[in-house]
């Protein structure tokens, strides 16, 4: 009975999508270049561009990191429901090596002595003693070493889980599942440490004086939330092209939507905790970060974030009737992907200065360009690979799986 579901028509990417990957990449690259010129209009050298680049880079990388965590955690808990959709996540995770390449421009400018993104890279310009004391940690060489370690962990894990799963597509060997389950624990531990410190290094240190211990958890929450949105949207689009029929069912959409809902709440919880503690403590070196994000138009942006990153999607997806309608959920997934951009922007861009039309325009161009590159990378990575793990031992369970009412 299962066999007719796994025809190549049903489980590989539509050809017309694959044919678009080069144009997409080209357009994406052009948009990114255009954004450099737009940013040039507002002055301040390459600073706005690199901040925008980092924000959009993290915007895309968070999907992949979320996907990687999702895959590992499904193995860790021996989940069966997710078997039908896990391959999509594996594919997203397996694009991480390319993101390591896309991080190179940042590394190169660091070694060029630029402080466009990380002001700690130019010790002459630093006045704060607290920052000067950190330079043993925040310097180009050590930073690069750590970045290599972080990407090393992510890439090893992604390759392990994707590679083994591909192998299982051919052999159907159950031992592979057992092996992946065994590795899930240690891998997740490494992943957690890497993600936590990567968030500190890559994003938090753009404001080198500021610090928050919850920052890594915040990025983790954002990663998971945006990942589930990407998953829902991908599955929906594949289905609308006649793929994954009778494989991904409304039950899977329901589950992914529940996770998305859960992470909307979790993100809000983490964001609120950080804000409340700094607001209440009212210590200048901590509140300065929020000060920057309440002035020059960013205050409105923050309020917008509260409304759109929490209140609206919370109320929008609280009902199971919504969660069980893939079309509606695809809308909410798009919505989340937009507000995720608002969030990443809010974290990074206020370092550059106030909100201005040119800034947002350049940033949005860079965003669209980066997303196009991302899609192109994804399509290229998928190629002929089936988008479902056809011989996963849990797959029969997953196909038959039903949510309780």
């Amino acid at each position: 009975m299962a066999s007719e579901k796994f025809t190549s028509d049903n489980i590989t990417l539509p050809a017309e999508w694959r044919s678009k990957r080069m144009p997409l990449a080209a357009v994406g690259a052009v948009l990114i270049v255009v954004s450099i010129f737009v940013f040039a209009g507002i002055g301040n050298g390459l600073k706005p561009f690199f901040h925008s680049y980092l924000a959009n880079f993290m915007y895309c990388l968070t999907f992949c990191l979320g996907a990687l965590f999702f895959v590992m955690v499904q193995h860790l808990v021996r989940a069966s429901w997710s078997s039908a959709v896990r391959r999509v996540a594996e594919l997203y995770a397996s694009t991480i090596p390319f993101w390591a390449l896309l991080f190179l421009p940042i590394i190169i400018t660091l070694f060029g002595g630029s402080d466009a993104l990380y002001s700690w890279n130019k010790p002459e310009g630093i006045e704060l003693e607290a920052v000067l004391n950190k330079l043993t940690y925040l310097n180009a060489k050590f930073f690069t070493l750590r970045t290599a370690l972080y990407f090393g962990v992510f890439i090893v894990a992604a390759r392990l889980y994707f590679g083994m799963s591909r192998k299982q597509d051919e052999t159907g060997d159950r031992e592979i599942t057992l092996k992946l389950q065994r590795w899930a624990g240690p891998m997740i531990m490494l992943f957690a440490v890497a993600l936590n410190f990567a968030a500190f290094d890559w994003m938090m240190s753009t404001d080198p004086a500021w610090f928050s211990t919850i920052y890594g958890v915040y990025i983790f929450a954002a990663s998971m939330l945006s990942f589930f949105a990407v998953m829902i949207l991908t599955c929906y689009m594949l289905q609308s092209k006649g793929r994954l029929q009778k494989i991904v069912t409304v039950e899977h959409f329901h589950d992914m939507s529940k996770f998305q809902f859960g992470f909307i709440v979790f993100w809000s919880y983490i964001a609120f905790s950080q804000f409340l503690l700094y607001w209440y403590g009212n210590i200048p070196e901590e509140t300065i970060w929020y000060r920057d994000r309440m002035d020059h138009g960013w205050g409105t942006w923050g309020l917008l974030l509260i409304a759109t990153h929490f209140a609206v999607p919370f109320l929008g997806t609280v009902s199971r009737h919504v969660r069980r309608r893939p079309g509606l959920m695809a809308f909410w997934a798009c919505f989340i992907l937009v507000v995720h951009w608002l969030d990443m922007t809010f974290l990074i861009m206020p370092n550059v200065g106030g909100v201005s039309l040119m800034l947002i325009l350049g940033h949005a161009l860079c965003w669209i360009g980066m997303v196009l590159v991302f899609i192109s990378l994804f399509l290229w990575r998928v190629g002929e690979t089936p988008v479902v793990a056809i011989k996963d031992p849990w797959l029969p369970d997953s196909l038959a799986y039903q949510n309780l009412p």
Partner: protein, 472 residues
């Protein structure tokens, strides 16, 4: 009886693609009913009487010490400048933390469809309620004039027309712990209704039948009732999940909204929650390992259940470890001399022993659960869970006492020493907890009978389907 069959299968192992049963021993529904009901229907074993024999005197001691406190004043404690939050608050946070596993098992694991929760959730919820009772006692008697603790509630006072201060985290705590206690109680009670009906229907005496009949509200098992009941259960689970998180988050706010080095850090909310789950599961295991042996519940609380709990302890213990590392790292990274000093002082100052007990018990000891032998041998497992309990008590001690004893002003530094009343109250609170738990074992269904049957049914169902699948 059929427990001969008990250890036949190793159900800690899933062949991928096939679930091993969660109830071993080949029992049918009726056997499960009997297995649980007889605990309440038959005379209690000697161990129960021994436990009560120890717990009740401790409880009496606890109550007497509270009386002593009321009559004498909070000076009977070791709380002294600069450490004004000391043992009572440590005990409070410790117990509240333990009180997290029950609702977590009921709610979060329910949402994640972890069916193994059904064998342990009832006892864990009971543990939660009793732990919250112990926890609630401490801030109650810590307010100084405990008989005026009702001032914490926003009631219209006839003479003063004053209201509580909602901008204070301590008041949030009142609401959080109060909500948590009452919602957990309702959740627990609601979960018990069908099982109380089972007790009613098995009653041999008129009084027993009447009491359980009233307690179960006339439950009949109608499918319409079940449908709404399940819906309500799911909704409660969805509400209780953020509630569990919020409670320990608010407890962490008590510390973290201040400016004290070592308290004021943003990781506190998730870190406290992870620690609470960690300690809660530690305590669940500490209780259930003896309980399953004493009441012969090994077919319901199987090695699989124990192993899963060990894994959760390992996971949350590692999260706590990551939080410790992050805190330490950020103390340096922030370049705040006070913050940095506080952390160095924790590890190498006068309370270094407490810090290293904490670190060893919480971070290192659960790492043994990477090894299968520790997840399978109940004795070893039990010993580790004791370490976890100790470690989590010390964690709260380290946080509370070391930060206060050496804050910004070196001239006011001090060294906290507990009095005998402090120690007696901690020990006494275990008496209260154990007494309540023993009474629970005697009078109430300690395993969620109907939920276990539901899981057995589902498994039978799946097996059925598998056979079909294979035949095709």
């Amino acid at each position: 009886m059929s427990s001969v069959l008990t250890s036949g299968i190793d159900n800690t192992y899933d062949t991928p693609g096939r679930r091993t049963p969660l109830v071993t021993g080949g029992h049918n529904y009726s056997a499960v009913t009997r297995m649980v009901s007889r605990i309440s229907e038959e005379a209690q074993p000697t161990v129960w009487w021994i436990a009560m024999g120890i717990a009740v005197p401790l409880l009496i001691m606890f109550v007497s010490l509270i009386g002593h406190l009321f009559l004498t004043g909070v000076g009977v404690w070791g709380n002294m400048s600069p450490v004004f939050w000391a043992w009572p608050i440590v005990n409070f946070v410790f117990w509240v933390g333990i009180g997290h596993a029950g609702t977590l098992i009921s709610a979060i694991l329910f949402l994640f469809r972890q069916n193994w929760r059904t064998s342990i959730n009832r006892a864990a919820e009971a543990m939660t309620i009793f732990a919250v009772v112990c926890a609630g006692t401490f801030p109650g008697i810590h307010v100084g004039r405990a008989w005026l603790a009702f001032w914490l509630t926003p009631y219209p006072s006839l003479n003063l027309w004053m209201w509580p201060q909602f901008r204070s985290p301590l008041l949030w705590d009142v609401f959080a712990v109060g909500t948590y206690a009452s919602v957990s109680l309702v959740f627990w009670y609601m979960g018990m209704i069908p099982d109380l009906a089972t007790f009613r229907d098995r009653s041999k005496t008129k009084w027993r039948r009447m009491i359980y009949g009233i307690l179960c509200l006339g439950w009949s098992g109608s499918s319409r009732h079940w449908m709404r009941y399940e819906k309500a259960y799911a909704i409660l689970a969805a509400l209780a999940t953020p509630l569990v998180l919020s409670v320990h988050t608010v407890v962490s706010f008590d510390f973290a909204v201040s400016q004290l080095p070592g308290w004021h850090t943003t990781i506190f909310p998730p870190y406290f929650v992870a620690g609470a789950i960690f300690s809660g599961f530690g305590m669940v295991l500490t209780l259930l390992i003896p309980v399953r042996a004493i009441y012969n519940l090994k077919d319901l609380i199987t090695p699989r259940h124990l192993e899963n709990m060990c894994k959760i302890i390992l996971a949350t213990g590692s999260m706590v470890g990551l939080a410790y590392i992050t805190e330490f790292y950020m103390a340096w990274y922030s370049q705040n001399p006070n913050e940095y000093f506080t952390f160095v002082n924790r590890a190498f100052g006068p309370y270094w022993w407490a810090y290293w007990i904490m670190f060893t018990c919480n971070v290192i000891s659960p790492q043994v659960f990477w090894f299968r032998i520790f997840r399978q041998n109940v004795i070893l497992m039990w010993i580790v869970t004791i370490f976890v309990n100790i470690g989590m008590w010390f964690e709260r001690f380290v946080i509370t006492v070391t930060s206060l004893s050496r804050d910004f002003l070196p001239s006011s530094w001090g060294y906290f020493q507990p009095t005998w009343v402090d120690i007696g109250m901690l020990v006494g609170s275990f008496g209260l907890f154990t007494t309540l738990f023993c009474l629970f074992c005697k009078y109430l269904p300690i395993v969620a009978i109907s939920e276990v049957k539901g899981v057995m049914s589902q498994h039978a169902h799946d097996e059925h389907r598998h056979e079909h699948g294979h035949s095709h």
